[in-house]
Symmetry: none
Subunit: 430 residues, 2 copies
């Protein structure tokens, strides 16, 4: 099976100066690997037109597919369009459709198009324009010899959406059917080594499909890659291995591939009878995470069907005035305590009328830790309807690892996990 | 002054597969830039010996200094030593000093040296060994033509210590003493092209110090790089150009280098007389951003000195019950309107007693847009103390670009910017 070869070229002074870490190459590589396309190399050059031209010439002679990211902004240091035209030996020409789009874009914002933005509608003669639904820089698709070249913006959000919409289908159409299919199972709670121990022999290096673990933002993901001549075979092997992993990890798996923890919780809320009857069913009361839990819950489009409202009670006074936490409780147990988060959850539930209330209070650091309650100590509360119609509560205290950002992020994921297992009707398995 | 040119080559299947983001190249680039060495390119290839050989040949012909990272571990997929020897046309030979070190290393751990580790003491004939004080993989220093090649491990900790101890002094001795110093000014509000137009001739490509713009998360940053023979001269030129940029961009610049927008706002709040007198002085009332503004304000350690509390009033009912927004206002103008955010801000200020209240209500999408209020429409409110002791308010409506995540992120940055200019005592300049 002849595998398609790709090279990824990223462009930017900030990259070769080391001021920005290039994450686009890794992202593009993952997308290409997923369709069985072999990435032979990454290259990065500065904003110098000569360097860009040299890199395009070198790479185009060595691959079937060259992905270029960066250097198509509106400013004088954006020279990828010019370099591409020079390599092709043609002029840049305006794309009138894109010029009209740019005019509309700026008109909608009540200002005329700056003259320098005009360059973003210029395309080498004979090349095709790639639509950018998220910005002003059009992309370019050109062919040199046997090599298809796709030029995309360096801004990750724009690059990714353009790759997925326009570039990926074109590459897939040219690939020869040898495939690598991947599936990823996401867990939150136990550490990477605990997950790896549970998976045991499935993680043998010579296994196909291969099973590996990666960590990102506290989420331990199990990545399964099946490399097969045909898609049906790859799908079957992938499903088999994924099934084995799921049987071992059980409810620890909250989702697959692009599914996030907030989405998993949202899906459960949309099915749960009590949550449906009293929709929107969830409210939040946060201290150290200061709104991040509410933000996560509302990351999902359509979150107003299950998220009602929240309080950020950062001061003790606001815990009392807004949520009715007793001053006595704060004095006797402290703001970071299970009695306090219990009263925060009850206060949020009764004031909002929402059946489920999540509360968080903790020490995110770097200051504020004590020997008894070190930095990373976080208390969680959940109030929920009981079968007898009364309001039930459960609380937990955990010691989370990491800096301020990490502790706040992990605390919110833990609160979502607490709610997730409650909605599943199961105790937290760790 | 002849500048030394470097290329950085990183090696690993995990890199070209996108499973690991290459951070070594950026780190090495920063070290080289600091001593005035120009990094012409980054390259990354897989663990294939043929690919490594080809990359070394290509790079060695195009630079004075090639830094290679990765592929010198003990396992079968570590082939950089073999590739280097092949390019040099020589054999690998054992370094007996390093072999003895390996024996000692394993003896100290109470086990014999595994046979596969022997390769880590093999050096191409005619090359020099680079000591690794942190691991078992020795490095290699070799010369091909005019190019000095330094091969280091891929493990960042080992690579960095070896670079600093042995490689940097050798490169510095060959460099001519030139340095590149950098400074970055951050702005939020106007787009990249607007900032570039303001900077005008300062962005000429042939200028030294050079001035370029980059975008990340809606923040437009102006990067200034001064390349000079000596550090004092570079510092002076950097300060001069930074001063010119600041005079043009004025208060649009909220910070330099590592400073974030929340930090800039926090610093202003710590100096502002009204904010100090009524500390913690800020509260928030959020709808579409659902806690993200509160999260940003509390990203800064010690934020309890200026952040008091917040409300996430996602439903209309909670806007009324928690903040006292009139039902009539919601009916007449809608939740996404300046009258509504004005009442949200006033409600938050009066209920919390905080002098400053920021409010946000908008349409983050992807659903919910109308012709009159398309996705991305966001209204901002700020209530603040007036000189006459009364409560003043100001409101703004903006159309923000991007997907749900981007709209919510930009909305929070805009709210911070609104507060920032108010604390500066100036109108929003865009």
């Amino acid at each position: 099976m002849a595998v398609m070869n790709a090279i990824i070229l990223t462009i930017g002074d900030e990259l070769v100066l080391g001021q920005t870490v290039d994450t686009n190459s890794a992202w593009l590589s993952r997308q290409l690997a997923a369709i069985g396309c072999n990435v032979a190399a990454h290259m990065t050059v500065s904003d110098s037109q000569a360097d860009i031209e040299q890199a395009i010439r070198y790479a185009a002679g060595r691959c079937d597919c060259l992905l270029v990211s960066g250097g198509i902004g509106p400013t004088a240091d954006d020279l990828t369009r010019q370099a591409m035209a020079a390599v092709m030996g043609v002029e840049l020409e305006p794309d009138h459709g894109w010029l009209a789009r740019l005019d509309e874009f700026f008109q909608a914002r009540g200002r005329p198009m700056p003259a320098i933005n005009r360059i973003q509608a210029m395309i080498p003669r004979g090349a095709d324009l790639i639509d950018n639904p998220a910005g002003t820089a059009s992309g370019i698709h050109a062919v040199i010899g046997a090599c298809h070249i796709f030029i995309l913006p360096g801004v990750p959000g724009e690059m990714q959406i353009m790759f997925e919409r326009d570039v990926l289908p074109q590459i897939r159409a040219r690939a020869d059917g040898g495939v690598i299919l991947s599936r990823t199972l996401h867990t939150f709670g136990p550490g990477e080594s605990a997950v790896a121990e549970m998976l045991g022999d499935l993680m043998r290096r010579d296994r196909n499909p291969s099973v590996g673990t990666t960590v990102s933002g506290g989420i331990i993901s199990v990545r399964i890659n099946a490399r097969c001549p045909g898609i049906a075979q790859a799908q079957a092997q992938l499903a088999d291995t994924a099934g084995q992993c799921r049987r071992i990890l059980c409810d620890l798996v909250f989702g697959e591939d692009q599914q996030t923890l907030p989405q998993a919780v949202a899906d459960l809320l949309k099915q749960h009878p009590e949550a449906r009857r009293w929709a929107p069913a969830v409210c939040t009361a946060e201290s150290c995470t200061a709104g991040l839990l509410a933000k996560y819950l509302t990351d999902v489009a359509g979150s107003s069907s299950y998220y009602r409202q929240g309080w950020v009670t950062y001061t003790n006074q606001s815990k009392t005035s807004q949520l009715g936490v007793a001053e006595h409780t704060l004095r006797a147990h402290g703001a970071v305590s299970e009695p306090t988060v219990r009263e925060m959850a009850i206060g949020a539930a009764t004031r909002s009328g929402a059946p489920f209330a999540l509360s968080i209070s903790g020490i995110a650091g770097p200051e504020g830790g004590t020997p008894g309650k070190p930095v990373g100590t976080v208390c969680f509360g959940l109030s929920h309807p009981r079968p007898d119609g009364q309001l039930g509560t459960l609380t937990r205290t955990m010691l989370l690892v990491g800096d301020r950002d990490m502790v706040r992020d992990r605390a919110c994921k833990m609160a979502l996990t607490l709610l997730r297992f409650h909605l599943l009707g199961k105790p937290l398995p760790f």
